[in-house]
């Protein structure tokens, strides 16, 4: 036993000597990195329950960023450490866990959970302790409209999701729009922009209907769409309802000139689940693997190598979110939360998504959402033109012609 210990001690001494030599060679920063406590970033995301998918994607983005940043020397010359918990998709558990991160784990920086339903309640904890919380996974405005000065939005605002599809519709002189969506905050935020946009683009909204979460039968809604006969169908829908709605459109042989399924259509899982019927469906995404933003190519490559799948926009957002937070810490020159807050509120920087920039409430105003279309089993960005990878296939092909 004692011989083992002395060997260890000797090894330790050797390591210290090596570190010293390294410090002499590479400068003082790496000495600090080896000696000082790591900077701990805390987050609670959903690994189980209703938001388990999104939560897992979020966590992978966080983990990859911390790993890469440590390989590049950490932050402020210190190593980084990620402390995470599972909030079980339950807001009261989320509150408890952020309390734990602040009071028990004494983390240095806070990163947000997945989704508005968890970001809104847990962001109060951050405000109570006057700690900055970067929220990469909340696109709805409600969380940021409550006077909380310590939170910053990482996704483009949901109200801008339909900008692209509406612009393309206007360019093709389409006249009528039907808006349907799941009756939860995010789809409502997406849909809220439609009436005004339609008015300014000279279009008429011929149908507006929100359906409950978990709806699986859309045959009656499809009949209403058929009766309203819109040029453009805008569905603020998630994955399950997007697939069911599309299928029932097919069965009732209803094919508007443009079919847009905001969130579900952008999910990589949508293609295989909907099969050939996915062809022509438009959707919005805040990010794409093909964007030519700084560092995007490397991110996609390293993410795929790490997790064996292509990244989605959630992972990209949580990854980009920590990049922004770290930049703010660097500019603040330390971990003083007020100083970091000032930086986040005023700074601009290029990220995987485009330029980061927030308004006084912390809402994101820098990025835009991209419109993409399923074409032959692939998602192709078709708007805006500056980022387009292909042309919009127009109109949406009639079901019998396929």
């Amino acid at each position: 036993m004692s011989s083992i210990r002395s060997t260890l001690r000797r090894a330790g001494a050797f390591a210290a000597a090596a570190a010293f030599a390294a410090a002499c060679a590479f400068g003082a920063a790496s000495v600090r990195a080896a000696d000082q406590k790591p900077i701990v970033i805390g987050a609670a995301v959903s690994l189980t329950g209703a938001y388990a998918d999104g939560g897992k994607y979020t966590l992978q983005g966080y983990e990859l960023w911390v790993k890469q940043q440590n390989a590049h020397g950490g932050l402020l010359g210190r190593k980084l450490e990620l402390k995470t918990y599972d909030d079980q998709s339950d807001a009261s558990v989320g509150i408890r866990l952020y309390e734990k991160l602040v009071n028990e784990d004494h983390v240095d920086l806070l990163a947000g959970p997945y989704g508005s339903a968890l970001t809104a309640p847990t962001s109060n904890v951050a405000a109570r302790y006057k700690m900055v919380m970067f929220c990469p996974e909340d696109a709805a405005p409600v969380t940021f409209d409550r006077g909380n000065r310590y939170i910053f939005q990482g996704l483009p605002q949901a109200v801008h999701y339909v900008d692209g599809v509406m612009a393309m519709a206007k360019a093709r002189a389409l006249k009528t729009v039907a808006l349907v969506g799941e009756d939860t905050p995010f789809p409502h935020a997406i849909g809220s922009a439609v009436p005004e946009l339609a008015k300014s683009d000279g279009m008429t909204v011929v149908l507006t209907e929100y359906y409950p979460h978990n709806t699986s039968d859309f045959s009656a809604l499809v009949q209403k769409i058929k009766a309203a006969n819109p040029d453009v169908l805008l569905a603020a829908s998630f994955v399950p309802d997007s697939i069911a709605l599309l299928r029932q459109l097919k069965q009732a042989d209803v094919a508007p000139k443009m079919v847009y399924e905001a969130i579900g259509g952008s999910d990589p899982a949508f293609g295989p689940a909907a099969g050939k019927d996915a062809d022509g469906v438009l959707s919005s995404t805040a990010w794409s693997a093909d964007l030519k933003t700084p560092g995007n190519g490397e991110f996609v490559k390293s993410f795929t190598a790490e997790y064996g799948r292509a990244p989605d926009y959630h992972s990209a957002s949580s990854f980009a979110g920590l990049t922004v937070l770290a930049e703010a810490v660097k500019r603040a020159g330390g971990l003083d939360q007020e100083k970091i807050r000032e930086q986040l509120a005023s700074m601009k920087m290029e990220t995987l998504f485009g330029q980061y920039s927030v308004d006084p409430s912390g809402k994101q105003v820098g990025y835009q959402a991209y419109a993409q279309q399923w074409q032959g089993g692939r998602q192709v960005i078709v708007y805006p033109e500056s980022h387009a990878q292909g042309k919009l296939k127009f109109p949406f092909a009639s079901w019998r012609g396929r």
């Binding site: 978990n214 709806t215 009656a220 058929k226 009766a227 299928r247 069965q251």
Partner: protein, 291 residues
């Protein structure tokens, strides 16, 4: 509105009724024989549907070919659950109903967790039979038509089995009068085990067919359990014809309310209807009043 639209909505409602009837069949059987409200019913449906979706995604196997496998697996699992769990519950307890309810409640969570471990939390769907037949101005979804026909055939087959085979007759005898069945030399425990197994198998079989209609993830089981309960509560617990009638009522009501009002009110319709029916006819439309 045009007559064609009305006809289409009615047809959609009836087809939806077929979907409901299919998802309630195993549930009815288990309650009829054992007086057990099987809250794990939906988990059987979902797990088998996910199996079908996984097999299609991975190997392009038709869900109809997965059906016998899922039936057999669920049959075995159901038999084991009854033999090793349900049967061990104390028999002569005033609130045995409550205990078995709680037990199957726990099971439903266990199975949902198992589903998450096996298939992950991602939504899956099977792009198979997604087209429609057109008859004049009407369109009939292929998958829904299949579900409708399957519900009718399975109900008929089950009725035939219960009436014409010795094993089926033993099940019926047990569901009607336990002591009487025992006096005739029927091994009531064994009959109950096979009834629970059969009910689970049927739930799994319907799951394979429902995989063509629903977008699924492992935590969705309670959707099917609730549907099944609403169907059966309206039709009468334990009555197969009643279950069909209940399903038709729910399907039509859902379709009309969603068209003439909206989808949100339609979601409440099943609950409102079943509460109302229960208050007027406590045993449902065709159920026999429990002794």
């Amino acid at each position: 509105m045009s007559a064609a639209t009305f006809a289409q909505i009615t047809l959609d409602g009836l087809l939806l009724g077929g979907v409901y009837a299919l998802s309630a069949l195993g549930f009815t059987m288990i309650f009829g024989v054992m007086r057990v409200v099987n809250l794990a019913h939906g988990s059987f449906v979902v797990l088998s549907a996910l199996l079908a979706a996984w097999a299609y995604e991975r190997y392009h196997v038709s869900p109809l070919l997965v059906l016998p496998v899922a039936f057999a697996a669920a049959y075995a699992l159901g038999a084991a659950i009854h033999r090793f769990l349900l049967r061990r519950l104390p028999a002569e307890v005033a609130s045995q109903e409550a205990t078995s309810l709680t037990l199957t409640f726990g099971l439903s969570y266990f199975l949902a967790g198992a589903g998450l471990a096996l298939f992950g939390g991602t939504f899956r769907a099977v792009p198979y039979l997604t087209g429609a037949f057109t008859v004049g101005p009407l369109s009939i979804g292929q998958a829904r038509l299949l579900a409708f026909v399957a519900a009718a055939l399975l109900t008929a087959a089950l009725a035939l089995y219960l009436r014409a085979t010795p094993a089926g007759r033993a099940i019926r005898a047990t569901s009607q009068h336990v002591e009487g069945a025992q006096a005739c030399g029927i091994d009531v425990d064994a009959v109950r085990t096979s009834a629970f197994a059969l009910g689970s198998g049927i739930a799994a079989a319907s799951g394979c067919l429902l995989s063509l209609i629903y977008t699924l993830n492992p935590e969705m089981g309670d959707v099917f359990t609730l549907n099944a309960f609403a169907v059966v509560a309206i039709g009468g617990l334990g009555s197969y014809a009643g279950a069909l009638a209940g399903a038709a009522i729910l399907g039509l009501a859902g379709s009309y309310v969603a068209y003439f009002a909206n989808a949100q009110i339609a979601e409440a319709a099943p609950y409102v209807i079943f509460i109302l029916v229960l208050l007027v006819l406590p045993a449902g439309l065709m159920g026999k009043r429990a002794a």
